[in-house]
């Protein structure tokens, strides 16, 4: 295999086949994928959740992960947020001519490992190579399907006044890491992306507490934007306690240096959970028993005071609006 990805590898001919068999099947292979049919055939039972996402993150490698692992985590998490167990994913790679083959191998290897850890099978894939400049190094699309475990499924429109709002851990880690790496900024303390598959934790949560009203992963736009989406869909107000928000000191430091707000930074391994107040203690027990939820805490309450708005109760006890992110805080974060 040559050192760089050439246009030949996307031609559909022998070079493509070699790339598929020597690289993609090596790391992603399973009984279904190995058959190399035009489509995957599989069975699912009951209601099915399905989600698709495209990944264009720049840089493609960052502390805590790379675009390959992120492409699995992002889609697996989206499916899991519907109270579903993700089962199968597909992947579509668009590769810029000239990408070092070693980079591609690291990415596919990370995708394979992430899929194994999440317990999903990659059952269909596609690779295209485009001329230099037609894409930025590599873009990946993944689509996932899974079996919905609870009825009704959690949904953004199901928050009710009186519900508690929980977050599974510290916020802003991924967004700041990606920005810091992209710009070559040297932070005093190391920050690392939180990119992770949350499905195992989420399945335990919804199986024990099926009355969870909303599950959402605060990715692009961050916690503030996701909460705004929920309050608008459910027509409730979210009162958020600034003091309760978990933000690592190094993220806070990086943000204050760059004039960013961690509430608007992307997360790739965290989720928001809105549920009846009576279930809070048990939910936190379940979350904290998992390493991915060890910093879980309650951050607010849904009320009927200002429907469709998120209100931040500041450390001083003042109140202010916490709006949606306008435009981009950062370009191409995931």
């Amino acid at each position: 295999m040559s050192e760089k990805v050439l246009l030949d590898y996307g031609s559909g001919g022998r070079a493509s086949q070699r790339l598929v068999s020597e690289l993609f099947l090596k790391y992603l292979g399973n009984d279904e994928l190995d058959r190399l049919n035009d489509a995957a055939v599989f069975s699912l039972s009951g209601k099915t959740a399905m989600s698709t996402d495209s990944f264009t993150v720049d840089p493609i490698f960052f502390p805590g992960g790379n675009i390959g692992s992120l492409a699995v985590h992002g889609t697996v998490n989206d499916v899991a947020m519907m109270g579903a167990m993700p089962r199968y994913i597909t992947c579509g790679y668009i590769i810029e001519e000239g990408l070092p083959m070693d980079d591609l191998e690291r990415i596919v290897a990370a995708m394979g490992e992430a899929a194994r850890n999440a317990g999903v099978h990659v059952v269909s894939g596609d690779t295209k190579v485009v001329p230099r400049g037609a894409a930025d190094k590599i873009f990946i699309n993944t689509t996932g399907v899974g079996e919905v475990l609870v009825d009704p499924a959690p949904g953004g429109d199901r928050a009710r006044p009186g519900d508690a709002v929980l977050v599974s851990g510290t916020i802003g880690d991924h967004g700041l890491t990606v920005l810091g790496t992209r710009e070559g900024l040297d932070f005093e303390a190391r920050v690392e992306s939180d990119s992770a598959a949350l499905n195992h934790l989420l399945v335990r949560l919804v199986q024990e507490l099926p009355d969870v009203h909303v599950l959402r992963d605060p990715t692009r736009g961050g916690l503030a934007t996701t909460l705004n989406e929920i309050t608008v869909s459910s027509n409730v107000c979210c009162e958020l306690e600034e003091d309760a928000l978990p933000v690592k000191d190094e993220v806070r430091g990086g943000c204050s240096l760059l004039g960013l707000d961690p509430l608007y930074l992307a997360n790739e391994g965290k989720f928001l959970c809105v549920l009846p107040a009576a279930d809070v203690d048990r939910a936190l027990e379940i979350m904290r028993a998992d390493p991915l939820g060890k910093d879980a805490c309650r951050i607010g309450t849904m009320t009927d005071a200002n429907p469709g708005k998120v209100v931040l109760v500041t450390r001083l006890g003042g109140k202010r609006l916490l709006g949606m992110l306008e435009g981009e805080q950062l370009p191409r974060i995931c």
Binding site: E188, D249, R252, G259, K309, L316, G318, R320, L321, E326
Partner: protein
């Protein structure tokens, strides 16, 4: 990194004590203006605004550099975007500032212009070195806070024999603008919160005229809730005792005489000039231009750029808002025709603009 020290300036108990004291000291309205966008945001973001006594009237002044960048200055840099052989370098704030016909730098990039967002003016040195066949033009917008680093960048460019760097200098100076504001009879004010970062460079001395000429108080202060409350209380107490003064409550950063070295660098490269301020118009001696000795760096000279007053934006009240005559939500366009997604005036564009802060943070 420890935030213990910084957190003390947020201490809810101490803030409550200061708020109680402030409340007890007020026998009539006290109208204060902060002259710095960072203060505007700090007052809203900390929730302080919702806690201030009713008699404290909070006005946001012309302290956001993006907001006071004149329409014709905006059009000038938009004209440069997309010119053959030009790479514009800018702080991120300017990317969405609207010019005539709805133009902005983001749209220019989509049309193929080469625009690079930098975090520091020094980043332009590398950019210029890496693009020897292009002219790198840095949009120099800001007050005395940023001017010295740009002057330093020019000096380093000269030392390193970098010849393809130009500065489009739209710098403005704060004290002169405050003089103009205070001279305006339409504006009623009791005191200023002065921008701490600007004073880190120029110190406190240039503001002595505020009590001397106009009988108003002014305090250089930091950006944490306790800084702001302490300075407000101080100004109210001065008024209660029948006097106006200038104070420095940001002594952990600011010395009364300022940073001599930074000022020397700044005035080695720049000299005062008349400047057009958005909403305030022409203020003599309130700008900085590149002096003859450094004229080779001057993008205005290179491209023959002349900044002139043009027709105002119809319906936009940014001028009155920057002067504290109107509150942002009193503008007929606020939240309707003018939002952060589609800003009409500059106060809605910058994250530190007073309209953007109202829109983003104010709870009705």
């Amino acid at each position: 990194m420890s935030f213990e020290l910084l957190d003390r300036f947020h201490d809810p108990k101490l803030c409550r004590q200061l708020l109680d004291k402030l409340n007890a000291s007020l026998d009539s309205e006290f109208r204060f203006m902060e002259v710095c966008g960072t203060h505007t945001v700090a007052i809203f973001q900390s929730g302080l605004r919702s806690l201030l006594p009713e008699k404290i009237i909070h006005l946001s002044g012309p302290g956001c550099p993006v907001c006071v960048t004149h329409e014709s200055e905006v059009n000038a840099f938009l004209d440069l975007a997309g010119r053959d052989g030009v790479i514009l370098a800018t702080f991120g704030d300017l990317m969405r500032v609207p010019g005539e016909k709805g133009r902005n730098l983001k749209k220019a990039v989509a049309d193929g212009a080469r625009v690079k967002v930098v975090y520091s003016p020094f980043d332009t040195l590398k950019l210029a070195r890496e693009n020897p066949d292009n002219l790198v033009v840095f949009i120099g917008v800001g007050f005395e806070t940023t001017a010295p680093t740009i002057a330093g960048t020019m000096k380093m460019a000269r030392e390193q024999d970098i010849r393809n760097l130009r500065i489009l200098c739209f710098h403005k100076t704060v004290p002169t603008a405050l003089d103009t504001l205070l001279a305006d009879q339409a504006i009623t004010l009791d005191g200023f919160l002065l921008p701490g970062h600007v004073s880190a460079v120029i110190g406190v001395e240039p503001y002595r005229f505020i009590p001397a000429t106009y009988g108003k108080s002014a305090v250089v202060t930091g950006f944490e809730p306790l800084d702001i409350l302490q300075s407000l209380l101080k100004m109210v107490e001065w008024r209660n005792h029948g006097g106006a003064q200038v104070g420095n409550d940001y002594t952990r950063i600011v010395s009364d005489s300022g940073n001599r070295k930074a000022m020397d660098v700044m005035y080695e490269v720049f000299e005062p000039c008349d400047a057009l301020w958005r909403g305030l118009g022409l203020i003599p001696g309130s700008g900085l231009e590149i002096c003859d000795e450094w004229a080779g760096f001057d993008a205005k000279k290179e491209f023959g750029i002349v900044i002139e007053e043009g027709p105002a934006l119809p319906g936009c009240k940014c001028g009155d808002i920057l002067k504290g005559v109107l509150q942002p939500d009193q503008c007929p366009l606020f939240g309707k025709a003018c939002t952060p997604a589609n800003p009409v005036g500059p106060c809605m564009v910058s994250t530190e603009g007073s309209c953007a802060a109202y829109y983003k943070y104010k709870l009705d």
